[in-house]
Structures are given as structure tokens and as C-alpha cells.
Amino acid sequence: METILEIKNLKTHFFTKAGLIKAVDDISFKIKKGEIVGLVGESGSGKSITGFSIIGLIDAPGRIVSGSINFKNEPLLNASSNRMQSLRGNRLAMIFQDPMMTLNPVLRIDTQMIETIKAHDKNISNQEAFRRCRDTLGLVGISSPEERMKAYPHQFSGGMRQRVCIAIAMLNKPDLIIADEPTTALDVTIQGQVIYEMQELCKKTGTALLWITHDLAVVAGIASKICVMYAGRIVEQGSVDDIINKPMHPYTIGLIKSVPSQNKKGEPLHQIEGMVPSMLELPIGCAFHDRCTKTIEKCKIEKPIETNQSDSRVIRCFNFKDIRK
């Protein structure tokens, strides 16, 4: 199938007063048309920055230092800001983590939706734009959308607001939606609904989805491919089946063991020893080495490179073969 997004050796660094933060440091992955890819990692691992790098909204002091992002065979890093603006919200949409903060509190829902259409189609009539917004709102499961269009964000619950955001992302039927922890801030019951609805919508429209989350369990249910991020790098990627059932990287193994459902009743939950390192003072060598159970001398001095196991399976570890034994 056609590749819609290809990221190669992307590095996004933040030049802060406290020092250099390599938030995204040499990551590569692909998303195919209509595919759902999960990007999993702890907070601060650089997964959101990856999302913002793709849509070109990295704020100072951050900057994309090197690498390439190809969207439908178009290199985005060389694209003009006008070109990026015409892609954003049109072919390339994003949903944010906290729906309470994502909608402008002083603008009505209709204003915030219609402007998304008008930004990309100057000639559309107001009535036509309004109809499309209303229909999309209905599509994401908001009842009596016509009335709700006139409301302000604070009149919606968190789950409803996230549905509005999803509707906004879907408005122009994009080729790719980047969903940055879209369900983290929601109640568990709402979470399930929203995940299901998004999956259905993407299937219907053939939209690809990059699902950024810290919750392996969520992504295992919907994605076909998973990338695991740790301290700015993808440490392992592969198909859902491979990652969940045959994890190779010690970090992935630790993550899967930490999912509560993996435990037997009465047993203490598994945890990965140690703390997430500060992004300002990453250890020399593999960033995971001081928490890893399989550390060898080499891990402490050298950063592991990516090794292709198969076409879709990539691992960054010196010692993974031993793990498989």
C-alpha cells in the first residue's frame, strides 16, 4: 500500500537556557494510507514533539535540526510556511490532549469550525460551510448538532469537547490525523467510545492515524503498528502482534509487563526499576542502560544503532538477541 508519511532520521532539539534538550533524536518510521500507527512512550519521551514536528508547529526555542519528513512524497521541511498552512487542518490534522484547553473559550463552536473550512476553501458559502460542520458534528456523535453549533466550549463536557475537536480534525477529510493522547484527559467510559468512533471514522474515510499515547493497552486495541519511544528515540517498532507478543527491547518488555492485566491476582504489579532520566542529562551510551536488566559494557559507552529485524521490525539495542533466547 501507498506510504503517506515517511519520517527519516528526524531530530528536533530545544535550545533552552538550561541546556540542549534532544527531545526527538534520530527517529524514522512510516505510515501507510489508512493505517493506524501507535506511538507509545512515557511523558517527556518526545512523542508529542514528534507530532508537532510533522505539522510544523514547533515553538522556539525548539527547532528541527535534521532529517526529513515526506508527506505524500512532498518534503515538508523545505515547504514554505504558506504551503504548511494550506496542508494543516486540510490534508494533515491534529487532535490535542486536553479538550478543555483546545477550544477557544470566547468563540462559538460554529465560528471555530467554519473557519477551518474557510481557511482552505475561500469560495465556499457560509451556508454550505455551516451544513458541512453540522453534519460532521453529527457524525462524531453529538446530538442536535444544529443547536450545539451556537454554543460556547464551556457548555460542553470534556468528552463532548473532544468530539468537537475530532469533528474539526475530520472536517476537510484529511489524509492523516495526528492524535496526541486524545483520550487521556477523558473518563474511562468515554475513552472507549471515543476510541471506537475514531477508528470507525478513519476506516470510513481512509484517513491514516498516528495515535500518540502512553497507554500501551489502548493502542494495542486499534493500531496495526506500534513505535515505542524512550528518551527521544524509537527503541523498537513493529506490527502490533510482534510488539505485544514477541517484544525484543528490554524497555518494551518492561512496559508490557507493567500493564495491570498481564498480572495474576495477588501478585505485585511489575515496574521498571529506576527513574526516567532528565532530558537535560541523558546518560552516555544507551539512555536506558541504567534501568535495563540486560545491560552489557557496550551499552554504557555507545548509543545503539537501529537494527532491521525484518521489513517492519526495527530495534535499537545491542543485546536484544540474548533476550530472545
Binding site: 508547529l57 494543516r88 487542518g89 490534522a93 490535542f96 486536553d98 484547553m101 473559550p105 468563540l107
Partner: protein, 324 residues
């Protein structure tokens, strides 16, 4: 909404009542009200007549009642100097002061909001740093001294603009103001600029702070993620949000413009109520001082009420909660 306005109006009346009590006890505590409110040059018969009129021979609670009733009737005493009702003197001079304050508010806003937004959007740029340095300077310069400098430079040295007085008054749609004649405009320009300078700095700082806070909000980033043009992000998404604190402050700033006009009016001999109060303090014309105080209190309470109502109109979060 109506319930909210009603509730706030009741609060305002309570504040007014408390303030009247304060002013009254101020007059009674600081000195002898007979001495305070009656012209020292009056003869014995006159003193007795005024004592009767003001109820100063009655017990203190009754005196307060008299004071309140007289205030309601608009009778706040007679000026020692002008021999006219104090209230009338103040009301006569009020348009000049309000016109000056409004014009300087206008000057400060049209400059301050764009400059503040720019400084907030690009905090590290040279221009922004210059704007901020300028605002510290403007903030630090005593109003009266700037006024003197303006007169020396524009009126005495260059001779471009007049330095004193209000100029010719024109009429437009039944409103009388010196803003409608060229002569009037030339007279109002220096004092208004002088008065505006101080506010300019604080509005710049406020706008900049608001911009810096709001520009990092998720909804701004989301608007950009939707592909909305940057000009719309700034003019709609950002501006609508910073207007809320700005409107609140503008109301209070307008009050402080009225207050600082006492200084500017004195420097530029602007015939407003600010100059009147300073002159009255010099001349110990106490009925005028008390009347001015009452008027200013009413004015401020009314202004605060207005600001609150405007605030609810601007912020849908407050507006809709209020209606429920």
C-alpha cells in the same frame, strides 16, 4: 444577566452608603464641622443660618440623616469662594475633564494595544525591548514633569501648540466639546498626550503580559493546527481573549485618568474639575472638596459596575453562568 446586574447594583449602593458614612465621619472626626463647612468670614447670623440649614445643631445620627438627604437633593453645600452651590461648580467643569480623560484614553489605547501585542509576540526582538524600555521610562516619569517638558518644548521653544486653556468649543450632534474645533484640538492635544503617557505604559505592559500568556495556550496552537491564517489567529483568537482583561483595566484606568487629571489640569490650566479641586484645597474651600469627594465616589462605584457588566458581556463563560 439581569439578576447579575441587579445584584451588582445592590452591592454598589451598599458601597456608596459606606462611603457616604466615611466621608461624613471624616468631616466630623478630622475637625469641627462648623469650622469645616462654614465660611470662616461669615458673620454670626450667617453661621447660625448655615448651622440650621445643615442640621449641625442636631445629634450626630440626625446630622448624618440631614447630610444624606441633602446629598440626595444634590445640595452639597455652597462654595466659600464662588458663592455658588458646590455641586453646580463641579458639574460645570465635568465635561472638560471627561473630554480630556476620554481623549487620552483613546490615544493610549490606539498606541498601546498594537505595541503590547507586538512586544508579546516577539519578546526577544530589538523593537520589543525598545518598546518595553520606553514603557518603563513612561511609567517612571512623573506626569507633572512631563507636562512641564511638553510646555517648554512644544509651546515655548517650538511655539506649535498653546500651553494653557481649553480653546474653542464646537458642537456636534448636540454634544459640546473642544474636540470638534481645530482650536480646541490644538489645546487638548498636549494635556491629553501628557495624561495618556502614563497609561500608555501600563496598557502596553498588560497587553504584552496577556499576549505572552495566551499565545502559549493550546487553543492558539490548535487554531494554527487547523490551518487558520496567522492574521486571524492574532486578530480573532488572541485579541478576543486579551480584550477581557484589557476592558477591565480600561475601566479602572479611566478612573485613574480622571484622578491624574488633577495634576495635568493644574499644569496646563485646563478648566476641569481636577483643577477646581486643587484650587479648592489651596483655598480651603471645603464644601467643594466634600462635594468633589462624593461625586468621585459615585463616579468610581458606577465605573466599577459598568466594567463588571462589560466584562460579563465579553466573556461567555461568565455571561452564561450569570444567566442560569
Amino acid at each position: 444577566m439581569t439578576a447579575f446586574i441587579l445584584r451588582r447594583s445592590t452591592q454598589s449602593i451598599i458601597v456608596l452608603f459606606i462611603m457616604s458614612l466615611l466621608v461624613f465621619s471624616g468631616v466630623n472626626l478630622v475637625g469641627d464641622p462648623v469650622e469645616m463647612l462654614i465660611n470662616p468670614e461669615a458673620d454670626q447670623a450667617e453661621v447660625e443660618r448655615v448651622i440650621k440649614e445643615l442640621g449641625l445643631d442636631k445629634p450626630i445620627t440626625e446630622q448624618y440623616w440631614y447630610f444624606l438627604m441633602n446629598a440626595f437633593k444634590g445640595d452639597l453645600g455652597t462654595s466659600f469662594i464662588f458663592g455658588e452651590p458646590a455641586l453646580k461648580l463641579i458639574v460645570q467643569r465635568m465635561p472638560a475633564t471627561i473630554e480630556l480623560a476620554l481623549f487620552s484614553l483613546f490615544i493610549s489605547l490606539i498606541f498601546a494595544i498594537p505595541l503590547g501585542i507586538y512586544a508579546g509576540l516577539k519578546p526577544e526582538s530589538k523593537i520589543s525591548k525598545t518598546i518595553m524600555a520606553g514603557s518603563i521610562l513612561g511609567f517612571s516619569m512623573p506626569t507633572f514633569w512631563v507636562g512641564i517638558i511638553f510646555i517648554m518644548f512644544f509651546a515655548v521653544y517650538l511655539g506649535w501648540l498653546p500651553s494653557t486653556g481649553r480653546g474653542e468649543i464646537g458642537s456636534f450632534l448636540g454634544v459640546k466639546s473642544s474636540l470638534f474645533t481645530l482650536d480646541g484640538l490644538s489645546h487638548i492635544f498636549l494635556p491629553a498626550l501628557n495624561l495618556a503617557l502614563f497609561k500608555l505604559s501600563s496598557v502596553i505592559r498588560l497587553t504584552r503580559a496577556g499576549t505572552r500568556e495566551i499565545i502559549h495556550q493550546d487553543y492558539i496552537k490548535f487554531a494554527r493546527a487547523k490551518g487558520v491564517a496567522e492574521s486571524r489567529v492574532i486578530n480573532v483568537h488572541l485579541l478576543k481573549n486579551i480584550l477581557i482583561p484589557i476592558v477591565t483595566i480600561i475601566g479602572l484606568e479611566f478612573g485613574s485618568l480622571i484622578a491624574f487629571s488633577t495634576v495635568t489640569e493644574t499644569v496646563f490650566a485646563w478648566p476641569g474639575m481636577g483643577k477646581l479641586i486643587i484650587d479648592s484645597i489651596y483655598n480651603l474651600d471645603r464644601p467643594v472638596i466634600v462635594a468633589y469627594l462624593m461625586i468621585i465616589v459615585i463616579f468610581f462605584v458606577f465605573l466599577n459596575l459598568l466594567v463588571d457588566i462589560l466584562y460579563t458581556l465579553l466573556d461567555p463563560r461568565v455571561r452564561i453562568q450569570g444567566s442560569n
